[in-house]
Symmetry: C3
Subunit: 138 residues, 3 copies
Amino acid sequence: MRQVFHTVRVSTHGAGLYEFTGAAAKFAQAEKIGDGLLTCFIRHTSASLLVQENADPAVLKDLQDFFTQLAGKGMNFRHTAEGPDDMPSHIRSALTASSVAIPVRHGKPMLGTWQGLYVFEHRDAPHAREVVLHYIGD
Amino acid sequence: MRQVFHTVRVSTHGAGLYEFTGAAAKFAQAEKIGDGLLTCFIRHTSASLLVQENADPAVLKDLQDFFTQLAGKGMNFRHTAEGPDDMPSHIRSALTASSVAIPVRHGKPMLGTWQGLYVFEHRDAPHAREVVLHYIGD
Amino acid sequence: MRQVFHTVRVSTHGAGLYEFTGAAAKFAQAEKIGDGLLTCFIRHTSASLLVQENADPAVLKDLQDFFTQLAGKGMNFRHTAEGPDDMPSHIRSALTASSVAIPVRHGKPMLGTWQGLYVFEHRDAPHAREVVLHYIGD
């Protein structure tokens, strides 16, 4: 049994979903990963992780719209230090995931046919996001 | 240290919560599992995972109603390829979990007294859902 | 490779966020933890886990307000066995997390600069909450 760490850096330019399935798969190949468990953890509280459909881009836009409406800039917040998109970002992060764990078989994360891994950026301004990958297995 | 994989198949017939706590416990027994970590991962984006109360069935109905109202069929979506329940399903999945990890002691997942493991089906039509179980431990 | 278990007990007195980052760090030090994976699991369905900003306390109040509005006591629920805050608690738990997994490097959980670990209490009355910590690694 062994473990490997890797940090994926995702440059974002506005709220929306940024896929990193390819970076995770590349990591698995490079490290000659076998059977095990892949954990993704995002080191931020105004961006989050999501496993979502990667077939129709309209899904990502509809998701974005829904979360924009659910936790929007027009609400009355105490915490507005970094602008009107600051607190909505924390809320949208709380409603989605900080970590996701995916079993890996023969070097491939066992994602379903239509599943992709995404950083869900909630801030308007460009950000450099870090997702830590941890693999443990054969 | 060793690891074991298992796929639980859950047949759903309409939106709602389907318990699989028993299947997870049976897997732990069959594999003579000791102390470790059990990870559940669902291979879909229109059904999700939930740890919820398994005492009063009314909880599950109230949960279902809440999510139906929060992300409903009446909203204006771009992605309607598979009908009006398609996009609400993706949203409800995003709001709940794709993976859940539970420590295991003496072969038993350390769930609280009232906790059960559920597949949260968001589609109306019957579906065959796959939950991958991964165990690592003694 | 080895693993360690620990239960963190958090006393809550009303709905809100209770930080346990310190308890997790102390556990890592006491057990001379190296590189690995730390999983937190909450054994309840009316309290949940959250990774959130621990710099400005206003963030926690705004979060609390948002969830109070989103799933409130005024809704019409079937399950009211333990009072009007019973079902809203289950819903708020479903919307946040039961488990969180964080990679650990040199004995330190790889949290971002502003990230803290929280128990998100959803009930009004005081409760004794249990969070199970599981570590696997070097």
